[in-house]
Amino acid sequence: MASSLDRKLLRDLGRSWGQMVAVAAVAACAVTAFVAMGSTYRSLLGSQRLYYAEYRFADVFASLQRAPDSLAARIAAIPGVARAETRVVRDVTLDVPGLAEPATGRLISIPDRGRPELNDLAIRRGRYVAPGRTNEVIASEAFAEANGLRPGDAIGAILNGRWEKLTIVGVALSPEYVYEVKGGGAIFPDNRRFGVLWASRAMVAPALGMQGAFNDVAVSLGAGANEAEVIAQLDHLLARYGGLGAYGRDDQISYRFLSDEIAQNRATATIVPGIFLAAAAFLLYTVLSRLIATQRPQVGTLKAFGYSNTAIGWHYLKMALAAVGAGLVMGVAAGAYFGFRLTRVYQIFYRFPMLHYELSAGLVIVASLISLLAGALGAVAAVRKAVQMPPAEAMRPPGPARYRAGWLERMGIDRRVPLEGRMIVRDIERRPWRAAFTWLGIAMSVAILVVGFYFFDAIGYLMRLQFETVQREDVAVTFSDPRSAASRYNLANLPGVLRSEPYRAVAARLSYEHRSRRVVVMGERAAGILRPLVDEKLRIHTLPPEGIVLTRRLGELLGVKEGERVTLEVLEGARLVRQVPVSALVDEPIGYSAYMDLDALNRLLREGGTTSGAFLKVDPREAPRLYALLKRTPAVRSIAVKQASVESFKDTLAESVKISTTILVALACTLAFGMVYNGIRVALSERARELASLRVLGFSRGEVRTILLGREALLLAAAIPAGWALGAVACELIARAVASDLFRLPVVITAQTLAIAAGIVVGASALTALGVSRQLDHLDLVETLKTGE
């Protein structure tokens, strides 16, 4: 049974359907963003937790040179350690069918019988390795997929100086490699050229000369264990076995990336819907305020007939709830769809055995509650004025709009401003909050786009920095063991090698006061050109002949300044401990590293011209021959070929951000539409009489349109730079929030991004304005002039 008031409600909704649609659309955006991002966040978090728990992801990790198996018991006995699993892990050169250049395989031992106690594998295809069978491996899924490898396929690998044929019997996922990157500065996945291979301990240990020994250990912690304490004990225990420093999950690359990603999702899942809910509340407030203003006499009449304030308030509140409710339904549907798509996108980079998309009822309920609450908030603010008015006053038409010269004019700015401009300025000054919200809303939509495209910019910048400016080599060769100076000349003589620059990489612990950090100290030739020391602003720094250069991030972690001395504890060989002056801090965005002049490092290590590998510049015509040769050189442990991976990563990235960019563009456009549409509709309603008068006085349609749209255009013009600034601040905050030890997103926003963001918002606003302003053509000059408001 619909009461008369409800029938009025329906008709009012019908009359102002355009604005109701705008409110519903903005509310839908809020709910879409909330549901999509929230469900993605929960799905990722749930999957991560479940995966880590079910597959027993370790808590602490450590690599070492070599320790006897007997040490395992002592590790397990460390207080707080629940389980410990020793392993043999080594990067080996692979010959992958169909891939010209050599790939790197991380060979990880798994128990001969039974499953790994920690970091268990999720077999996706094929089977687990069979006991007693040699040369069976399980390949990581990302690597297998990228190279089209299936169970039964064979790949070649150099194991302890010999070529071996390995048969892939299974394809698997590991909680250790949800995000599968090589590490050591390589933070972009290159699944064609890097993969993980698991093989039985019985096969790996002899092949790598590790019988009865291990060089890697993973540990899980018992309840209430102190991670730092366990790490310290483990380091102590492993020190004499060439321990490279234990670390917790926070320093585990895959965990770190995944957790950062989830944390980022959580932040956006809160902020973005918040913006839209505020916008929806504001829109409802203006729409209803206006509606109620035009219905003032009706409100007065209803009250005079005896309708209570509550009844009238509830009547208008229902309008708000109807609009928000419609948005809610659309938003939940769109949010579920986009959440599902987004979750699928994460599969590209993050490999889960079970990435379940999960849209919980709780999330929908929360979405409903907060969106309806926001709607009610906007409505109540608008309704309050109407119901508080005594009926007699409500039934009188409102007095003329009060304008005065605002502060801008009192400052004397306006004298040269045309009258139309003054009208706009005074209109803004008369209702500064309304203008401010519209302005802010449009600015937000610009900002949302800036942030959306910023990720392209930042990652593109990082990639250019990494692959073009820093890594100028074509190939980076790592030797199986540090070699004498003579080997560098061998490399230089290989076919196609145009230039060879040796480097020495040594694992070390840097300490300053009570703080310390595990790093790889890179010794490079100061005169080298293949690996220049580049800072964030792309300035090239020369390695000083003495002392150590740290990335600024590392310097901050250690709390050390230029000129101070850090303690450098070498984690290999004789484990020398030295004091080294910090000669410079460099802003390098990726990783945290320490650099020294090659000769200075050799002197420090008391070794004569020892190198760990070399960077090569290669003649492309000779490259295939060189790769074939390097593949078959036992002294070479791994080879990183830079070039091809760049393009493939860009494609993957573009694919993965397509969906989120689509969402952001849709959200931003809707927000701009909502703001501009509402602004113009309200102006049209408030000023219809004024505009009709102008038409009667001889203003053309175009001129009247200019006056009507001028305010919106001015706000838009003012919102764009503000949106840029807001976006830049947001990018800065995001960059800071996601900055990890692994990398920092540089705050680089290209002019293109700014232009696109502004362009999209201007375009959306212009289309909206064009659509609404057509109503000016239907302005009934005769009718509008007869009556007052």
Binding site: G399, P400, A401, R402, Y403, R404, A405, P418, L419, R422, M423, R426, D427, R430, R689, E690, S693, L694, R695, V696, L697, G698, F699, S700, R701, L781, V782, L785, K786, T787, G788
Partner: protein, 254 residues
């Protein structure tokens, strides 16, 4: 064209026309029919009359007589269903939106019952807004002085009385030196004293600028100010009368 304009129709009673000069406005056989739902409303029935330069004409009639419709058609805000409206030689009834806009912009001044000032502009600015559209406007201050508002140049509409607002509206209408001033119940929303001030302003404009003024009103007292009075009833002209003795606004009593 120079003949005395004397257009009689079977429906029109005998009228007395002002014989001076060339007519500026010619309304011929104009009818206006509104369709409201299934009902046809004849707002005007084959109306004929002319206006001449410098005339002060009052279109008098009760509500529903069609006088507002007539004013709308004269202002090219509305088109007649049939008949012809000529401004000089321009046929307004066949004009498109652009031509009508130009007509209003260049030749006609409007004064509304509810003033219709732009609330965000001061008196001076309201006048200037229209002056900027015109080719040969008078200074806005001069227009405002003509209606006795030199002291209120920088006041906003909300800071002025109704009479003041209406005089600003008159200043706004005359600033472009229009040939024709159309006034829709200019005193309708005003009290007696203020209304007289507004009428004085209109009379002065008529005398000093020589603009033709057409006022529509239901207030018969105003008719005494006119050179000619055109009386309407039920969409028809029932009488066109020439005032032998015009009274001054000060003498108007209602």
């Amino acid at each position: 064209m120079l003949q005395a304009p004397k257009t009689q129709t079977p429906h029109s009673p005998p009228t007395e026309q002002a014989p001076k000069g060339d007519r500026i406005f010619h309304v011929h056989q104009v009818s206006k029919i509104y369709r409201m739902g299934g009902v046809e409303v004849h707002a005007l029935r084959e109306v004929d009359f002319d206006l001449f330069p410098g005339e002060f004409v009052v279109l008098l009639g009760p509500s529903g007589s069609g006088k507002s419709t007539l004013l709308n058609i004269m202002g090219a805000l509305d088109a007649p269903t049939s008949g012809e409206v000529l401004f000089h030689d321009h046929n307004l009834s066949a004009a498109d939106d652009l031509e009508r806009t130009r007509y209003r912009r260049e030749h006609v001044g409007f004064v509304f019952q509810f003033y219709n000032l732009i609330p965000s502009l001061t008196a001076r600015e309201n006048v200037a807004l229209v002056a900027e559209l015109a080719e040969n406007p008078m200074p806005p201050e001069e227009a405002l002085a003509l209606v006795g508002l030199s002291e209120r140049l920088d006041h906003f509409p909300a800071q002025m009385s109704g009479g003041e607002q209406q005089r600003v509206a008159i200043a706004r209408a005359i600033v472009k030196r229009p040939e024709l001033l159309l006034c829709d119940e200019p005193t309708g929303a005003l009290d007696y004293e203020t209304g007289k001030l507004v009428l004085e302003a209109l009379a002065r404009v008529n005398q000093e600028l020589g603009a033709t003024i057409a006022i529509i009103t239901h207030n018969a007292a105003i008719a005494g100010l006119a050179d000619r009075v055109i009386r309407l009833r039920s969409g028809e002209i029932v009488e066109i009368r020439r005032n032998e003795k015009k009274i001054s606004p000060a003498e108007v009593i209602w």
